[in-house]
């Protein structure tokens, strides 16, 4: 019994020192001067533009990942072709690549001295930030949907097509409803990761306030360049709030998946 209490104390202390107390600290620092100060700090023109840029990136990345993620998941779960193992490995690659290396890769491929010789001016602008974010979030939808596709099998789809349904009808009426929780989970993960991406963006984004500065870049710039610690804490708290929403959505979807 005493061992149990001891183990519990050690585990909870570790979590407290590492996660809980630092989080509580930043909340305290953000709101110690009252809510108004926080609100003013996150509604400056630079902050508003950072928030809207972050949301714009999410709004572009999510549909891209859903559409191409579904196509890839279907090909991987249902297809049988040479090189499938390789394709599987490529899907997992972004998890193993450092975000900074993602940025380097995009510059060396799309940039002025890159493979494409700067034919598409994407670096230091919105398309480059979108490409970086798509890279790091690419596995989520595929990896959430593919196992569900395997599990549901093809019987219902075959029945539908035997009864004369077109491929689109089968997809919309049979396949999509069956995988929607998986898609939802993948989207939530994609949104969270997109809002939080930093390393790849520091390399490919210009980071100009009001133009190419996302929320995460704003946190960094306020802390390092402006020595505005409070402003950095406030912007970080906004990001934390968004992360908490994500966590709640994840828990809800997890329950639905288990039900």
């Amino acid at each position: 019994m005493s061992t149990r209490i001891a183990l519990r104390s050690v585990a909870l202390t570790y979590l407290g020192v590492l996660v809980v107390v630092p989080l509580a600290m930043i909340f305290y620092r953000t709101f110690e001067d009252g809510f108004v100060a926080f609100f003013e700090s996150v509604t400056t023109p630079a902050a508003i533009s950072a928030i809207s840029l972050s949301l714009t990136i999410v709004a572009i990345v999510v549909p891209l990942n859903v559409v191409f993620g579904l196509v890839t998941a279907l090909a991987l779960a249902r297809g049988n072709f040479p090189g499938k193992g390789l394709l599987q490995a490529v899907v997992d690659l972004p998890f193993a690549v450092s975000p900074v290396i993602v940025g380097v890769a995009l510059i060396l491929f799309w940039g002025n001295d890159g493979w494409l010789g700067g034919a598409f001016p994407v670096i230091f602008s919105l398309p480059g930030m979108v490409l970086a974010t798509v890279f790091v979030t690419l596995p989520f939808v595929v990896r959430e949907v593919e196992p569900v596709l395997r599990e549901i099998g093809t019987e219902q789809e075959e029945a539908a097509s035997t009864l004369g349904a077109s491929r689109w009808q089968t997809f919309w009426r049979i396949t999509l409803p069956a995988i929607r929780v998986g898609v939802g989970y993948g989207v939530v993960l994609t949104v969270a990761r997109s809002l939080g991406e930093f390393g790849a963006l520091t390399v490919v984004a210009g980071g100009v306030a009001g133009e190419s500065q996302t929320l995460t870049l704003l946190v960094h710039a306020r802390y390092i360049d402006d020595h505005n610690t409070f402003g950095a804490y406030s912007a970080a708290t906004v990001l934390m709030g968004l992360a908490l929403v994500t966590l709640v959505l994840m828990t809800l979807l997890e329950r639905r998946r288990e039900a």
Binding site: L7, L12, A75, R78, T216, L247
Partner: protein, 275 residues
């Protein structure tokens, strides 16, 4: 067994090339993955070999580069080890213990995955940084880097060990205990062997995450060359100072280390499963 789980309707061999999406869908998926992931990474590889193998070697053995690579590898290994101990402990408490607020603690484990890495950095700074209310000043020290990496890798081992611990055969434990084995002996002889694959897998993921980590280290680590500068910070600095070939070479070295570890672990756990 695994191949049986994939139903392949024999009458549809023509369509099964790309599965439900057909050959066009397969082509779209391949093109997408190539354009987003594969070709940019290939560009890194060719850039790193621009000056031949000699140039590659010179770039990664420059004093600051070599120091950053060694530091990153050593600290990542240490963090993986820390996670093996604390992760197993936390998983144990979550599975075997019972107390009020346990489900809240369980939810906290996922927080580091949900939080942006830059937030992790600033969160730790608020407590252990220059204005530390508890008088612990870790800014720009190696312990700060370890702390940041332990924060972002927290969920890996816990989440890989937890389900296995739930499945472990309680009867063998009870038998061991009734034969007079102490709690520690039972854990070491009965439970730990069952956990090995999960522990290795979790530790490998934690290592791979730590070795490429940037956002959580960037504020609290200080990035002092040949002291606290990790490899990803070094790479970012090379890009800033317009030395892309050097950035590419260190990137490739970092990727190779991370792939080698992931492959070794996959190979080891597979062999363990068979044997």
């Amino acid at each position: 067994m695994a191949s049986l789980a994939v139903p392949k309707p024999p009458a549809r061999t023509r369509r099964s090339l790309g599965g439900g999406v057909g050959p066009i869908g397969l082509g779209v998926a391949t093109l997408w993955l190539s354009l987003i992931v594969l070709l940019p990474l290939a560009a890194v590889l060719t850039k790193s070999l621009e000056g031949g193998l000699g140039g590659f070697w010179d770039a990664i053995s420059a004093p600051s580069a070599r120091y950053a690579l060694l530091l990153t590898t050593a600290i990542s290994a240490l963090v993986a080890l820390i996670n093996v101990v604390t992760g197993t402990l936390i998983a144990w408490v979550l599975v075997r213990d019972d107390f009020r607020g346990k489900s809240l603690v369980n939810a906290i484990i996922d927080l580091p995955f949900a939080l942006p890495t830059i937030v992790a950095s600033i969160v730790l700074l608020s407590l252990y940084g220059p204005r530390s209310p508890v008088g612990i000043h870790l800014y720009a020290t190696k312990p700060a880097v370890i702390l940041a990496l332990a924060f972002v890798t927290l969920p890996f081992v816990v989440r890989s060990v937890q389900p296995v611990l739930m499945e472990v055969d309680r009867e063998a434990e009870q038998a061991a205990a009734s034969l007079g084995a102490s709690g520690w002996t039972t854990f070491r002889r009965i439970i730990l062997p069952a956990l090995y694959p999960a522990l290795l897998g979790g530790a490998g993921l934690a290592f791979a995450r730590a070795i490429g980590e940037f956002g959580s280290v960037v504020l609290i680590g200080g990035g002092i060359p040949r002291d606290t500068e990790v490899a990803s910070q070094y790479i970012a600095k090379q890009i800033e100072t317009d030395r892309p070939a050097s950035a590419a070479a260190v990137s490739v070295a970092l990727l190779l280390i991370s792939f080698a570890v992931l492959f070794a672990i996959r190979w080891f756990t597979k062999r363990k499963d068979v044997g």
